[in-house]
Subunit: 427 residues, 2 copies
């Protein structure tokens, strides 16, 4: 049997877990392709945005991960096109032939075509996004500290976070803590004016959790001073603020868009609803059984007819199965269908506060928060990252201080305050 | 006595140490001005460039430093102009009146007007510089890994470091260690082709040290595989390489310029040779005794007629004295002249190797290296930074691994290899 070449697109949870399985098979040669040279631990990205962690602490070098596997190599580049007939993928203009292809390229921010979002709102998917959000927050505070115009100060000091999912909620909680514990000590003259507005246009926040957990999160965020806007979806984002469908306007120079994602589409591959690919339960594309799809890219539905949640545990489990199924295909063994094991749901709100739902078990507060810490440290790749994240968290916990307040790139804000300033958000 | 306003320009070693003295005087109000919102610990900047440390670990938030002083505040901005007659300084268009001014704005990279340096070489003064050098090194390695053209690979994998002072030597040593311990394991197929060329155009490397220390450093660098080029100054830097005065050409896409600095000139202030300001021994400008200058900005000469070295200890000592002298001026007391206390000279070369000269005491190797570690941790500001730098160093020391290999911004290299490629550097 000649050596088979497996190309894995994307070094997220799906890709890395697939490589782990594939690399055990001596008859395989594996090429892992990613735009970045690191695996990003997305569940902690919001802590980079809010200044709790440094960016290299949640990023692990792909080449360091691959060192232990002699039959796997890395190619940094953009997967531009797949030709399923010729069985090739084009990476930065270079043609790469494959015997098996695994697609795990994840999602990107979806602006749903709303005007101004792409131009004026900041997405929250990659390290660059998180660093831009941090630089913007710090720049806005420094600018507000020397601005006498109260209208302009208001726009500078208001952050609108759109999307009540875990990303939006965790960001809002972290910003509120930064306001209370850091900015109140660093720039006391402006801390009182800081506003954090969390927008959930359609339902309740953290809709993946039970209603009681949702309400707990809501109470906690309100107590921390976060303003919640329900049932009034965003209509437009401008340089000077956010306009809602009801017509109300919130003046703000900083809008964060955490309201939705869509699959990263690669030309040549079929793309279904939301840019995701529907596969057989065995995770391959029926028309091209040598192409597997795992993680957020896969739109496979469970027994209830709903697609599996786009979370890390789905990606990990599908990555492992896709890797195993490719090995089985090479060996001529039978493919196994995907069975999702729901390990539960966790979200952190702030210091000592989180919510956890594991099967029928629901708990909140400190116990959930401690569990959240342990789980996130456990899944974080690399001893060094675990060590430094733990050191950072311990430091922040005992000092009430945020680790990273270094402004890398100063942000320039619009010169004038928005013409139409209607103060209408009520909590 | 009415409250006096002291404006301190620059939050380097001089500025911070001056603020510490000034803030003790209840009758003073202090405004510290800096372009950045952090104090940069420049002696460790090369470790950020070579991937040993993360950037926020050598940067300390100015506002966190100022928390303890109730009579000091921070203004982030660019000092654009000083009007000594009106006693005002313009910061980002805002007029700031002062009673006393302390200038400690340091230096910037000096290209000596050599063609191509400003455009194609990378300076090494700020965090941005260091991050750009790191991104360039990582990008070049990734690109070389997938490039078959041997000429292009050579240009990608050659780094030319111009300047044999501590910055150049420490960078060369750190790059050589990265080649030996990290790249040889991460991308073994290219590690052998990596070249690090250190250029000292005029004298010997580390000329502030004795000749024997200099020779020790030279031997160590050569043993690590660094190529040393002596006595042939750079004539021009291009997109594809470096041309020397002798006419020889080294093909390289990455040139680092650590060959010289010049004072940051602020319009309205007198600027002497090298952009530095000559003051009275008491550190004020004779024509404007309410303006003090400390650190790299000050060109004051010692008893030997030579300007004091532009190093951290000069800046610290002058900052303290300038702060004290301003307090004395306010109180109507006599000014004290500057007395330089030479605490010795330290430079690290690599793992377990450094050189130290303290008075007549000279030592090398492990003892010097251990001293270097302790001194640098001691002067690093902030418990968190010390803790994390120590954790990073311990990790790197025991694993032979470099902490930070995350590529933040991929660098695009020139498409073609340079036309004229003459391989002429001999070691």
């Amino acid at each position: 049997m000649s050596e088979k070449h497996v190309v894995v697109l994307g070094a997220g949870f799906a890709g890395l877990n697939a490589v782990r399985e594939l690399a055990r098979e001596p008859g395989l040669r594996i090429t892992l392709v990613d735009r970045n040279n690191y695996h990003l631990f997305q569940p902690l990205l919001y802590q980079v945005a809010s200044g709790g962690l440094e960016s290299p602490q949640i990023a692990f070098p792909i080449r360091a991960f691959l060192r232990r596997y002699t039959n796997a190599c890395f190619l940094m580049g953009n997967a531009e096109r797949v030709d399923p007939q010729a069985k090739t993928v084009t990476v930065d203009g270079q043609l790469l032939p494959y015997d098996y292809l695994l697609v795990g390229v994840g999602t990107r921010t979806n602006d749903f075509g709303l005007p101004g979002v792409a131009q004026y709102a900041q997405g929250m998917k990659g390290l660059e996004d998180a660093l831009r959000i941090r630089d913007r927050l710090i720049s806005a505070c420094e600018e507000a500290a020397r601005t006498s115009d109260p209208q302009r100060r208001k726009s500078l000091l208001t952050t609108v976070i759109v999307g009540g999912g875990p990303t939006g909620v965790e960001l809002a909680g972290a910003f509120a803590e930064a306001k209370r514990h850091v900015i109140s000590r660093d720039i006391p003259e402006i801390a009182g004016e800081m506003r954090i507005v969390l927008v959930e246009g359609f339902g309740r926040i953290l809709s993946a959790f039970s209603e009681s957990s949702s309400r707990y999160a809501e109470r906690f965020l309100r107590a921390m001073g976060v303003e919640l806007v329900y049932g009034d979806p965003v209509a437009e984002v401008g340089s000077g603020g956010v306009r809602f469908q009801s017509g109300r306007f919130v003046p703000s120079f900083s809008t964060i868009w955490a309201a939705g994602v869509t699959g990263v589409a690669i030309p040549g591959l079929p793309a279904g609803r939301g840019g995701r690919i529907v596969t057989a339960p065995e995770l391959f594309i029926p028309e091209h059984p040598e192409i597997y799809v795992a993680g957020d890219s896969n739109a496979l539905a469970g027994d209830d007819g709903k697609a599996y949640p786009q979370v890390a545990q789905t990606a990990i489990q599908q990555g492992v199965l896709a890797g195993c199924n490719i090995v089985r295909a090479v060996r001529g063994q039978r493919q196994k269908p995907f069975r999702y094991i729901d390990k539960g749901n966790l979200a952190t709100l702030g210091r000592n506060h989180a919510i956890a739902e594991i099967g029928r078990l629901r708990f909140k507060g400190f116990a959930a928060w401690a569990l959240w810490l342990v789980v996130h440290l456990y899944y974080l790749i690399g001893f060094r990252n675990r060590l430094l994240v733990m050191a950072n968290w311990a430091y922040s916990y005992f000092t009430y201080d945020f680790a990273v307040r270094i402004l890398h790139k100063r942000v320039a804000f619009p010169e004038t305050s928005p013409q139409e300033v209607r103060e209408t958000v009520r909590t």
